[in-house]
């Protein structure tokens, strides 16, 4: 088995209405339950806004700290899920479910090594 990161990208802007989010959250919960039932769930959660981020950079023996995200953009990392899957096709099938449930782009990346 291999581990894959499913990274969800969100557009900057106002949050969608509550009833929409509730439906999305319910679907995400169902996908997670299925992943757990198949022993494919490793970890996953949504993230606070990029405004909540702090970036540290080491240079010349000093560590510089900045308030805010690593990079400003039109889209930001909104949440991550880590799954175990047999191969990329299996990982893509799960990612497709996340993309359909959230309407957001999902980036799939393999972790180094074996799970």
């Amino acid at each position: 088995m291999k581990q894959y990161l499913l990274a969800m990208y969100q557009p900057v802007g106002p949050r969608p209405p509550a009833e929409f989010l509730e439906k999305v959250m319910a679907e995400l919960g169902a996908i997670r339950a299925e992943l757990e039932a198949r022993d494919s769930w490793v970890f996953g959660n949504g993230l606070h806004d990029p405004d909540s981020a702090t970036v540290l950079r080491a240079s010349d023996g000093d560590v510089l700290m900045t308030d805010g995200p690593f990079a400003e953009g039109k889209e930001y990392l909104g949440g991550v899920t880590v799954i175990k899957a047999e191969d990329l096709d299996a990982a893509l099938a799960w990612a497709r479910r996340y993309a359909e449930a959230t309407g957001l782009p999902i980036e799939v990346r393999p972790f180094l090594g074996e799970a």
Binding site: K2, E86, D87, L88, D89, L92, V108, R109, P110, E114
Partner: protein, 414 residues
Amino acid sequence: MGGHDRAPDVDAVFRAEYGRAVAVLTGVFGDLDLAEDAVQEAFATAAERWPDTGVPPSPAGWIITTARNKAVDRLRREAARDTKHAQAHLLYPADHPPVEPAEEGPVRDDRLRLIFTCCHPALARASQVALTLRLLGGLTTAEVARAFLVSEATTAQRITRAKAKIRDARIPYRVPSDADLPDRLPPVLAVVYLVFNEGYAAGSGDRLTRDDLCAEAVRLGRLLAELMPDEPEVLGLLALMLLIQARRPSRTDADGALVLLADQDRTLWDRALIAEGQELVRRCLRRDRPGPYQIQAAVNAVHSDAATAGETDWRQIVALYDQHMRVAGSPVVALHRAVAVAEVDGPAAGLALVDGLDLDGYHLWHAVRADLLRRLGRTGEAAAAYDAAIARAENATERAFLERRRAALGADGG
């Protein structure tokens, strides 16, 4: 293609069997690089020995056995040197031998697995094309680069990156299940047709390489048809390529200039290819599961049926494009349909349809408009449309053709 320094015997075997040998070796060892290196070494050995010993009774078997031994030798050497390194090279770990997955479809040819891996939708189209030509066609990186007019460095990087992604992201080496085939077959067909079209667009690049590219696409098309005889779009694609290929001798004149379908010398058409293509179209019709490739093949079969351009059954072609619009409509299909409508109902009817299409960036849209305007006697507008087409055409032969047509408009066109 595929090498210039091999004896003719070895070269013929190379063309016919390279892809199969790489596919089988990949199935055994789960590693594309190892499979490729071993097969190339086996052919190098063949080139040394066969001139003396003669070609063995089963050349493909000889190549595969020799390559397998070379791969095993290499793995042993690497294992002795660094066990971990050898392990890291494998797509699947050694304690997890590659087994036939249960969900695999009924066809079990290694080459089919290889082509679905090369054309996996997680790979960019340019990478799919380069990998397919390299691994299944046995083209060198330099040959792939030359055929697509990109630098050898770019091509090499594309191939390396795609192989690394196959390994690192673990793109599976298998034929998709029947349920996944509707999503997975179109990129395979698109890659083969792209190779064919690239070869067919004569004039740019190395001419000889381009002819070989068409031949390679037809070979891949035949392979797919042999391995997936129940997929009508696979048969449709092969039929389409054969019927277009049949017109190749008349498509350019002695100077290499483009000749329109209507002006071609039809006695030069390859009757054997036409017969084969038409038989495939009939097989598709019997299955009655139409798709874009089958319909385009049927259109070309109608052209092949006409002894002269004047005898072309344009009503039938309009009906086929109507069906194409229902099955997989697009502005480009609508443009082709408009050309056929102009033959049935006159250039004004065709022009009305063409003007309704949003294809300003497409040189053929302007070229079609120009021709219809010319036929309507609107010479000034035709000249402007030819200019627009010339500005957007990327192929030198096509550009030269359009320039001749524009010049032929005469003084009012100026």
